[in-house]
């Protein structure tokens, strides 16, 4: 079922929130407020917003170090997210996990992961759990094109297929794994690799939020009905470097510029689609301003929060016996 206009507006707002969040994080990184790792998902907002719009709050999600967008789209509080980037005690992981480990089980977020491929079996296990408990929850796992080369992907995909788990394997093919083009590390399309485990696959324009929503929605419906996993290959592009400091020698400015253009950038495209549906630019401007205001608050909250006290060091490792 296609998105109606209020739904598309909701997705647009989510995409803007993600873009604004990530750009603010980049700013704070450059200011030295954020340290360590940062892998912005700027340009990939449609996959996050479209796919997560097809999920319920109690569905499960795993993703990668580049998963801020998905985490926010799934419902992670942006304040907790930004505070986590700054290593603050108000962060979703009390500052212990950082950029690569956003986690919030209250919204089904079982964790970003800094190990390529590791989220796939974990999500398969969450799907197994839902199935065994007789719940109709589903699990989704986001990963990149490069992750398909990892044994963890192969093993997780096979488990999902053999056990017919309610799992959506969502591959964001942004053409590069770090600085290496995917064509250098696989000879066949990724969806072909996934299909070989015995699950339906679908390709989608990952910068078309409506299309992403529709294919995910179909996969979720299958999964909830007990019909097993689906692999989605979404073609997309990251507009910033792999990580902060990436010199981007492996791609041309022209290539990036094209993906930043009206035809490609998912936010520009959604904006155009909304205008075409006769949403007024005034309405859009209100949403846009509101998102900026939110992220301003988010930044303030994160900056004003405290670093965890040293006494926290031995906390959150073990659960004490009841």
């Amino acid at each position: 079922m296609p998105l109606d206009t209020p739904q598309l507006l909701a997705c647009y707002r989510t995409m803007l929130l993600i873009r604004e969040f990530e750009e603010r994080a980049v700013k704070l990184y450059k200011l030295g407020e954020i340290k360590g790792s940062l892998h912005p998902c700027v340009g990939q907002e449609a996959t996050a917003a479209g796919a997560c719009f097809a999920l319920r709050r109690d569905d499960y999600l795993t993703c990668t170090y580049r998963g801020h967008g998905q985490a926010l789209a799934k419902g992670l509080d942006p304040k907790e997210a930004m505070a986590e980037l700054l290593g603050k005690v108000t962060g979703c992981s009390k500052g212990k996990g950082g950029s690569m480990h956003f986690t919030d089980p209250r919204v089904g977020l079982l964790g970003e992961n800094a190990i390529v491929g590791a989220g796939v079996p974990i999500a398969a296990g969450a799907a197994l759990s839902a199935h065994m408990r007789g719940s109709d929850q589903v699990a989704i796992t986001f990963f990149g094109d490069g992750a398909v080369n990892q044994g963890l992907f192969a093993e997780g995909a096979n488990l999902a297929a053999v056990w017919q788990l309610p799992l959506i394997l969502f591959c964001e093919n942004n053409q590069y794994s770090e600085m290496t083009p995917i064509t250098a590390t696989t000879r066949t399309p990724l969806h072909v690799r996934a299909a070989s485990y015995g699950m339906p696959t679908v390709e989608v324009d990952g910068n078309d939020v409506e299309a992403v929503y529709e294919v995910t929605q179909a996969a979720v419906t299958r999964a909830r009905a007990g019909a097993g996993p689906t692999f989605i290959e979404a073609h997309t592009y990251r507009l910033l470097g792999h990580m902060m400091g990436d010199t981007e020698v492996y791609r041309t400015k022209a290539e990036v510029a094209e993906w930043r253009g009206e035809q490609r950038d998912p936010i520009k495209r959604t904006r155009a689609a909304l205008l075409a549906r006769e949403v007024s630019s005034a309405t859009l401007a209100i949403i846009e301003a509101a998102v900026v205001a939110t992220i301003n608050e988010v930044e303030q909250f994160a900056r004003a929060s405290m670093l965890p006290d040293v006494s926290e060091v031995y906390e959150d490792i073990w659960v004490a016996a009841a």
Partner: protein, 331 residues
């Protein structure tokens, strides 16, 4: 009332009882269903609980341990069988980067009530890739409890506690212990994880050990009693948490300690115990802490070599005698 049963039977009872008690407990692993596992620990569970809760896995340890992590984070209590501890290397990411760190990385928001049962050790000529003892590796990386029972009684009581524990637990059996027997109560019981057990009290020397080496230590203690040497045998039972108090109390009591294990020596548990005791009980020691361990070479198959590589009773005996002598260079 007590019955004498086998170690693997004790484990099977623990699994059976816990699966009966809590519908969230389930087992998974290779060949654990119809066949009942290659060491027969899960025998009968398929018939009792069906294929959903006794789940046969493809040969993909990293995948199914990872899946167990995900299942444990979302309300289930998986008990995974890793057929040989040596396969922990293919599953290492799911164990060390995922299970061990998940709670900390989430600031305490998630729990991982997962048990990984495995078996280890040599002595059967299974060769370098099927005879390793990897407890030091599991214990070195924080976030996983590490339990190694030496008797059927401990095996049953500790496995039940491991299943009820809210933390990931690596539960390490020994391939040569499955066919050993011991008394186990008829009635239900559990044993707390983190308490060492004095398997034999003594006053002259302490042997600190765990798993199958406990049996060797007890045999040595019996022999040495005839020579008038009174050996205390302290079975650690778990390495994480380590029962520091019992270790230090026994070390202080006897002033002479040998640590015995089948794992390699370099950076093994013997090193940790020796370092700890000299740090904490320096003035009470009569002699340095000695270690009797596997030699630092891959485990060979030939019986002559395998015996030479793995710690034998005569090695333990020599170390104890050395500690009782005045000669500091004897071991």
């Amino acid at each position: 009332m007590m019955r004498e049963i086998y170690y693997n039977q004790a484990l099977r009872e623990a699994l059976h009882e816990e699966m009966n008690r809590d519908p969230c407990v389930f087992v998974m692993g290779e060949d654990i269903g119809l066949y009942g596992g290659v060491f027969k620990v899960t025998e009968g569970l398929l018939a009792a609980f069906g294929p959903q809760r006794v789940r046969e896995t493809p040969i993909s340890e990293n995948g199914f341990v990872g899946a167990a992590v995900g299942a444990s984070m979302t309300g289930m209590r998986p008990v995974v069988e890793l057929m040989f501890a040596d396969f922990a290397y293919v599953a290492a990411d799911s164990i060390f980067n995922q299970a061990a760190k998940m709670r900390s990385m989430s600031g305490g928001r998630v729990t991982v009530p997962l048990v990984i049962r495995t078996q280890q050790g040599g002595g059967r000529g299974n060769g370098a890739q099927h005879s390793q003892s990897l407890e030091a590796m599991f214990a070195h990386i924080p976030g996983i409890k590490v339990v190694l029972p030496s008797t059927p009684y401990d095996a049953k009581g500790l496995l039940k506690s491991a299943i009820r524990d809210e933390n990931p637990v690596v539960f390490i059996e020994h391939k040569l212990l499955y066919s050993t027997r011991g008394l186990v109560p008829d009635d239900e019981y559990t044993l707390p994880i983190g308490q060492a057990d004095i398997k034999r009290p003594g006053s002259d020397v302490t042997i600190i050990t765990y798993s199958r080496c406990v049996l060797q230590a007890l045999a040595v203690a019996t022999q040495l009693a005839e020579e008038g040497i009174d050996v205390e045998v302290l079975d650690l039972r778990s390495l994480v948490p380590l029962d520091r108090n019992s270790v230090l109390a026994s070390a202080r009591k006897t002033g002479r300690v040998v640590v015995v294990h089948e794992a390699h020596r370099f950076c093994g548990v013997g090193a940790e115990i020796a370092a700890l005791i000299q740090e904490e009980a320096w003035d009470e020691l009569h002699a340095p802490v000695r270690r009797v361990t596997a030699k630092d070479v891959p485990i060979p198959v030939a019986p002559s070599l395998e015996q030479a590589v793995l710690p034998q009773e005569h090695d333990i005996m020599a170390a104890v005698r050395c500690l009782m002598s005045d000669n500091k260079n004897c071991s």
